[in-house]
Each structure stands twice: as C-alpha cells, then as structure tokens.
C-alpha cells in the first residue's frame, strides 16, 4: 500500500463508535446499558469528547440511540461485522486519522488512546495486541485504508485482521499497553448479562458510588506563564475534570480548550508537555509524572522548565 503523504494532523483525529452490533447474547442493545442511570454510549461519547472534537457513531438501520452531539451514520447493510462498521465510520469521518471503538467499552483509557494516536504518523493502522489477540475495535486507522476495506466487504472477508496484513500496522504489545492501562480494562467488552454485572461492579470501583456525572467533576485552574500565555493570549483557564483525573487528562483537556498550545507547549499526543516546559502545582511542587492525580481546586502552573536568567 502506498504510504500516506506526511504529515498528517493527528490532533484533528476523529473518534468512531460502533454501536450497530446485534447484542444477541446480551438480549438488549449494549449501547443502551445503564451506568449511573445513563446509557453507556452517553458516557462513552462524553469521555471521547475530551480527546476528540469530531465523533462519529455508526448504528444499525433503524437502531434507537439517545440524542448526542455526534455525526450519526447508519450501516447501509446491517450486521456486516466490524469491517462494515469501520468502513462506514471512516467514510463519514472528517479527519485523516480515526480511533475506532466498540460501544460497550466502558473503561477507555485516554492515555492509551493518546499513545495509539501518537504512533500513527509512520503507519496506516495502530492496533493493540492483548491476551493473544489484536483488538481491532480499539485501534487507530488511516482513512486511506477505505478501498481495502471496501474490497474485503465485497469478498466477504469480515475479519479486520486481514487488513492488518496488507498495510503498515503498528502492533502495540501488552508491555507497552500496560504502561498506560495496567489492567487492560480498555478491552473489557460485554457480551452477556454476567459481563454487564461485572462491568457495573468495576464501574463502581473506578468511578465511586456517585459515578462520573457532571456533579462529580473536579475543578482546577491552569495558569499559563511565558510562551504559553503569549500563545494562548490568556493567563488562565478553568477545567472540569473527571474524578481522579491525571495530569495527562489536564493536558488533553487544555489542548482541547487551547489548540494553539498543541505541538508548541503540549505534545501532539496531548498527554504531556513538550521538552522545555514544566508543570507546578499551586506554586509549590513540580509535577514529575503525567500519571499523577489532580486534586480538586488545584492551581496548575505551566511554565518554562528553564529558570536560567
């Protein structure tokens, strides 16, 4: 396959949620399973919104979904499996690069997604490999693979891994995945009511009894100094973050608020600062790891890492 023209703007990547599966063993549409009183897909879209400006939901013809601020497309032929969903999603996406996920992924990791996106510049597909299997419904695809997917649909090759053999595929192995998602919860899917009960239990563990709704958001202020302030033309930004958010999430959300900082102050994968910049909390402590947790009310200071005068 011909390599893509470089560079491609991964900062403008699209998220594609495949919601059109049969859910036959579950007995009820997976996208509508309730967590904290809200359909799972609503939570999913809200989580993806922190990383992606453009979200496409691929649904089956006639499938009911809650109203959401997304681009909704329908499978032209229902139940063609994941290849069909990926194909229709990529076709509707606005960007050159898309992250594809299933609608029953209740525990996505923004850090892992950012890492996958950061790997795409030299590849056509970035696919995690977890517990001996590729995870095509948690992978990043270039739009340029569309003709190949179209060919697969025509031939009835409904397994995405056929595509992986034909293009430049970056396999992300378990060790690498664990750096961002130690337990691999990103690949937790629900196929049965037992899985749903297990997911609810884990959801409670991860999000606490109140869940991740807006009322549980923690608020912090990001103060900008030097180059960051001058680029952004603002001194500070208030952010509402999910409970137990990390600094990676702060940077990702800040990137969304102030895209001008991406590539200059915030790394292009949006989960860290570029070399030469540092982060301090409340004027007191310097942040040594982007995986550290943010506390409610923190003032996060972004400054030059070089104090030379």
């Amino acid at each position: 396959m011909r390599p893509m023209e470089e560079p491609n703007d991964v900062t403008a990547a699209t998220a594609i949620v495949l919601a059109g599966g049969r859910s036959s063993r579950m007995g009820t549409p997976k996208a509508l399973l309730l967590f904290d009183g809200e359909p799972l897909i609503v939570h999913l879209v809200a989580a993806l919104r922190r990383l992606f400006a453009d979200i496409v939901v691929v649904a089956a013809p006639g499938q009911d979904l809650p109203s959401m601020p997304v681009t909704l497309v329908r499978d032209e032929v229902a139940y063609q499996g994941p290849v069909g969903g990926i194909y229709y999603g990529l076709r509707a996406s606005g960007g050159e690069v898309s992250f594809v996920t299933a609608c029953d992924s209740a525990f996505l990791s923004s850090r892992l997604i950012s890492h996958l996106l950061s790997q795409i510049p030299d590849y056509d597909v970035v696919a995690p490999h977890w517990e001996g299997r590729f995870q095509p419904l948690h992978s990043v695809y270039r739009r340029s693979v569309l003709p190949l997917l179209e060919g697969q649909l025509a031939r009835g090759e409904l397994r995405p891994v056929y595509l992986f053999e034909k293009v430049r595929t970056r396999r992300i192995d378990e060790d690498e995945i664990r750096r961002f998602d130690p337990e691999g919860l990103s690949f937790f899917n629900m196929n049965s009511p037992e899985d749903y009960r297990e997911a609810l239990k884990r959801w409670s563990d991860v999000h606490g009894s109140n869940g991740p709704g807006p009322t549980a958001a923690i608020h912090c202020t990001v103060e900008l100094f030097g180059v960051a302030r001058m680029l952004a033309q603002t001194r500070e930004v208030s952010l509402a973050l999910p409970p137990e958010a990390t600094y990676s999430q702060v940077f990702a959300m800040l990137a969304e608020e102030l895209p001008v900082l991406v590539g200059q102050v915030i790394s292009t994968d949006r989960n860290s600062l570029v070399d030469g910049y540092a982060c301090n909390v409340n004027g007191l402590h310097f942040v040594r790891s982007a995986a550290a947790r943010v506390n409610p009310g923190d003032n996060i200071v972004i400054l030059s890492a070089d104090a030379g005068g």
Partner: protein, 599 residues
C-alpha cells in the same frame, strides 16, 4: 596545535612593553580556555595578596577552543582577575565579535598588568601592540567609546571598554563590548585602575581546527537543536520571563529580600513588557538562540531601545520596590551607559534604601532613595558612577558600605563574599542557597545552576539537606566546563548527553582524544583551581555563608510564607558539599585531592 594558538600576549601598560609567551599544550589540555585558562593564568600572574586595584593585579582576557568554530553560542571570552569587590576570584564572561577578534589575534589569552601614567587605550593589530592616549575618551560611555575608536583607526577593530564607573573604580564596574558586559565582580574597576579606557583588537589569523567537516556536522545538529522547544523561553520571551514565574513561586526578591513576592509583578512581567514595550530581538555573533530583547523606553526626548534581562529587571525593579517599567528601563540604560553591574547596583541601592529608611543613612534619604521611588534610584545611579556624595560610599558595594555605616546594617547587606545576590530567594530554593553560599566568586547564579534542582522537583526546594552538596558540586563542574569551552548556558539543555557530546566536539576541534569522563574531571579541576586561588587569598570557612537576614527572617509572603533557612540547615548543606568535594571538614582542599586532579 588545533583549536588553540599556543601562546598568550602580555602587555604591561606601565612600561608599554608587550611580549608573546608560549602556552604549553599540557596546560591547555588540563584547563581548556575561557574561565579555566584564565584561572590558571591568574595563579601565575597575580602576586599573593595583591591589591585588586593595584598595577600588579592582572586583567586577563581568555579565549577558548570553540571560539571561531561556528558552533552556535560559542563567540565568548572570559575576563579573569582578582575582584575588587570580593578580594577573591572574579571570572566574568562576555560575548560576540570582540571574542572572535581576540582569537583572530592568534593568542589564547591577553594579560594586562601595570598602570598607565594617564588614560590610554590598548590597540592590538596582529602582532603589533600600541598604547594610545585616551584622554579625549574620558567620560565617554562604552558605546561612544567604541565608535570613536573605530573612527580613528585604519582597520575595522572590535572594542571592549569601560564607562565612567570603571574610570572611577566603582567596585562593581563592568567591561562592555557591543552592548554586552563582563558584568560581575568589578572587572571594569580593575581596568580603570590601570588607566586603560579600552582595548581595540584587529586580528588577521584564523585558528585551524583538526576536523572541519565533522565539526560542521556537529555544529549543524546543535544549531537545529538550539531552535527547538528547549530554548523557547530565551527565543520567544527572553530571560525577563522569569519575573512572573518567580513571583508565583515565591522566590522573587523584593525590597532588599524583605519579601519574596512583589505585589506589582504583573506590571513588570516579561509578558507585559513584551506586549507593551517590545522593540526587537538581538543576538551575539555566532548565536542562533538570540535571546536578547530590546524594549522601547519612551522618554521625553524621543525614546530609545534598551536591552533588558531578568537580573537587571529584578534588581532595578522589585528589589528596589520599583513598579514602573519605564523607570526600570531608564535605570538599566544608566547602568549600561556608566558601565555598572546591574545586580550589584540594585543590591547596593536596596541596602541603601533600607539603611536610609532605618535612619542610618540620612544622605540616602536626602537623595530621595526610598523603596518605590524611581527618581531617587536614578539619582543614586548617577551619584555612584561619579562617586558623588553618598554615591562614593555606595560605589564600594553593599558589604563595604554596611561595614562603614555600622550598626547592624551588615545583617541586611545582601551579598556573599561581597558580591550581591542575584534574583533567586534562597529561602524558597534551598539547593540554590547552598550554591550561592559556596560559590568562589560570591553570590552567583552562573558559576553553578544549583537552582535547576529546585525548579525540577527532584528535591524539596523548601527544605535543605546534606545531599544538596553533591548536586551543587556537579552543577559547578558542569558550569566550569561550559565556561571554559566556551558554550553559552542557554544551549546546555540541547545536549542529549553533555559530557560525551562536548568531548567529541572538543576532540574534533583539537585533534586530541577527549572522553566525557575526562571532561567531567576537567570541570572539577577548574573549579578546584578557583577555590585554591581563594584559599591563597585568605579564604576562611565563614566566607561560605549567607547574609544574616536569610538566616533569621522567614518569608512573609507568597507560597513559601513562614519558610525560613536556619543556620543549622545551611551548615548541614555546606558540610555535605565539602564532603561531596572530598575537601576537609572546614572546606580546605587536601593535598591528595590536588594531586589526584593533577593540579
């Protein structure tokens, strides 16, 4: 010999005689150039116990192996002498075309001794040295001095000169070239004491390097790295960016270190200056970073562009309680015009303001010196440069002025060894506190970058411990190598592994085989040599100490409110430092260490 010229030029301005002397390769290998070579020559040429302002004190201009190679930020030279401010080593750096021209004379160092019977300038053209009368230049500022000399010479010379402050032997006078200064320690007063107004150079030699193509490849890589995010601050805002950040982190010395935050910091921030006063960016010769920022001052006679760095901004701003950017720009312009070190000027003025407000220095009050009163500060700068009125006392620096004034005014004379503190409050930067206390040239932020550990989160910046000794020693050795190659510190973070890369570069320039480990021990050797000079000049353990204010008064504002620095805490850090250096418990260098380093 590649990269070096293998000789120095000694000019005695008393007799007018000049001689070239050979410099042995072994010495250059051991001490490199710049500060290393300059320190080595200081040991040779300065008689023990010499009065810094006497004819016998040598004023040494040292070049370095990387000068003229085209490697970014390397057009630099060192000025080394015995400091009239501290009585210990003064090692200053300046940069740009004068550095390139010094090397083009085909010498590694220029040593000036003696005292001319009247004001002169030294003109060196190739092998020829001429002592020329300079009475017509008396009272001129450095910029006018440079242009006058260039106009009267038949070749395109580069000039370093002193202003009125140097002529009057103000103990913190600078030597200026092309708007830049060898600023700290009073090197300009030493030049003034020799009745030398300026040095004009016109060279015609190119120094060969061993492997030009390999050097170009390294230079090209460094050039590219120098334009990345690691130098963003310097390229896009300048060092003035520090002010707002330091204020936020509670480490911006204000009103003579009575506070570590300034309520009007916003008005003086680098961001605000850029928005309201920015005029243009400038850089030294051979530099891609181009960190210098010139800001517009709008005076009644049409205004001018003024260079401003963080240290100048802090010292003439918050340290004196000044919140008006226009006033700071004018004060900076005066210091440049007279040839005054802005840090020591601000530090001495802040001491005088406090002394005046406490009733110990009525003359300061008469002059209008009060915290926040710009007119008084401007009037005092004039008075210092000309040694008029109370200016004669302040021209001696804060240490001597406080001793002369008496009472307890030494408690808040903010200096170490006589050199005024730079703009980092040691109470909220404990590694820096140690770095300032033990630095051979006095309170200095350039001969070590001890603050880096505090700003990285590697250490608790509010609490000191003996482990800081190792951090400070490593930082000093690193700086000694940078200052002797010479490479600008603003490039330091662009190296992936500094010692390995710098050793490779040095090997390609000189043709010698240099390893990273050798270069690291060269840094230790150079630093130790500075210390040995101080010991020779009667350094005592109590000289590695901080002003009483820092040890008895806690921070009253900012995020560090309530934090202090106890004598025990400092003592413990100093002890850890001597231990890391393998010096004795009182800070003297044992013979076996001297031998181990091959000094």
């Amino acid at each position: 010999m590649f990269g070096f010229c293998g000789r120095l030029l000694h000019v005695d301005v008393s007799s007018g005689r000049s001689v070239h002397h050979r410099l042995e390769e072994s010495r250059l290998r051991q001490y490199l150039g710049g500060i290393g070579l300059g320190t080595c020559l200081l040991h040779d040429y300065a008689p023990a116990g010499v009065d810094p302002l006497s004819p016998a004190n040598p004023l040494i201009f040292a070049s370095a192996p990387l000068v003229g190679t085209g490697v970014t930020t390397t057009a630099k030279f060192a000025v080394v002498t015995k400091s009239p401010l501290t009585g210990f080593i003064a090692d200053s750096l300046s940069s740009s075309h004068f550095a390139l021209e010094l090397k083009r004379l085909g010498i590694d160092a220029l040593v000036i001794t003696g005292q001319a019977p009247s004001l002169v300038y030294v003109f060196i053209r190739g092998e020829d040295v001429e002592i020329r009368p300079a009475e017509h230049l008396k009272g001129k500022n450095p910029r006018d001095t440079e242009s006058s000399i260039r106009a009267e010479l038949s070749c395109p010379a580069w000039v370093a000169s002193i202003g009125i402050a140097g002529e009057h032997r103000v103990r913190f006078a600078t030597i200026s070239n092309e708007g830049r200064h060898a600023g700290r320690g009073g090197v300009g007063a030493v030049m003034g004491s020799k009745n030398v107004k300026a040095i004009a150079l016109c060279g015609d030699r190119e120094t060969s390097v061993a492997h030009p193509q390999e050097i170009e490849a390294i230079a090209d890589s460094l050039r590219r790295r120098s334009l990345g995010s690691l130098t963003d601050k310097y390229r896009r805002v300048g060092t003035v960016a520090n002010l707002a950040v330091f204020n936020r982190l509670g480490t911006l010395p204000t009103r003579n270190f009575q506070q570590a935050t300034f309520e009007d910091a916003d008005a003086l921030s680098g961001e605000a200056l850029t928005e309201n006063h920015f005029s243009r960016r400038h850089g030294c010769a051979s530099c891609t970073i181009r960190c210098e920022r010139l800001f517009k001052s709008r005076t009644s006679n049409g205004g001018y562009d003024q260079r401003l760095e963080y240290e100048t901004l802090f010292a003439l701003g918050p340290l004196c309680g000044i919140n008006d950017p226009e006033c700071v720009l004018q004060a900076a312009e005066l210091c440049d015009r007279y040839g005054l070190d802005t840090i020591s000027a601000g530090g001495t003025l802040a001491w005088a303001i406090e002394a005046g407000e406490k009733g110990l220095l009525p003359e300061a009050q008469t002059l209008g010196l009060r915290f926040g009163h710009g007119d008084g500060v401007l009037a005092a700068i004039h008075a210092i440069a000309k040694r008029e009125g109370v200016g004669a006392l302040l021209a001696e620096g804060s240490k001597r002025a406080a001793i002369e004034t008496g009472s307890n005014s030494s408690d808040w004379a903010m200096h170490v060894k006589g050199l005024e503190l730079p703009g980092y409050d040691p109470r909220s930067l404990k590694t820096m506190a140690l770095g300032l206390a033990v630095s051979p040239r006095g309170a200095c932020h350039n001969r070590s970058g001890a603050y880096e550990a505090d700003f990285s989160g590697e250490v608790d910046r509010f609490h000191g411990d003996s482990g800081r000794g190792r951090v400070v020693a490593a930082s000093e050795d690193f700086a000694a190598v940078l200052d002797s190659l010479i490479v600008c510190k603003f490039l330091r973070k662009c190296f992936a592994e500094f010692y390995t890369e710098a050793a490779e570069l040095l090997s390609q320039v000189t043709g010698w085989t240099y390893t990273g480990a050798q270069l690291r021990s060269t840094g230790e050797r150079i630093h130790t040599l500075k210390k040995l000079f101080n010991i020779r000049e009667h350094w005592q353990p109590e000289d590695d100490w901080l002003p009483e204010r820092l040890l008895s008064e806690k921070l009253t504002t900012g995020v560090g409110k309530g934090v202090g620095l106890s004598p025990d805490e400092l003592r413990e850090m100093v002890r850890g430092y001597y231990q890391a250096r393998e010096w004795d418990e009182n800070g003297f260098v044992p013979a076996r260490k001297i031998e181990e380093l091959g000094i």
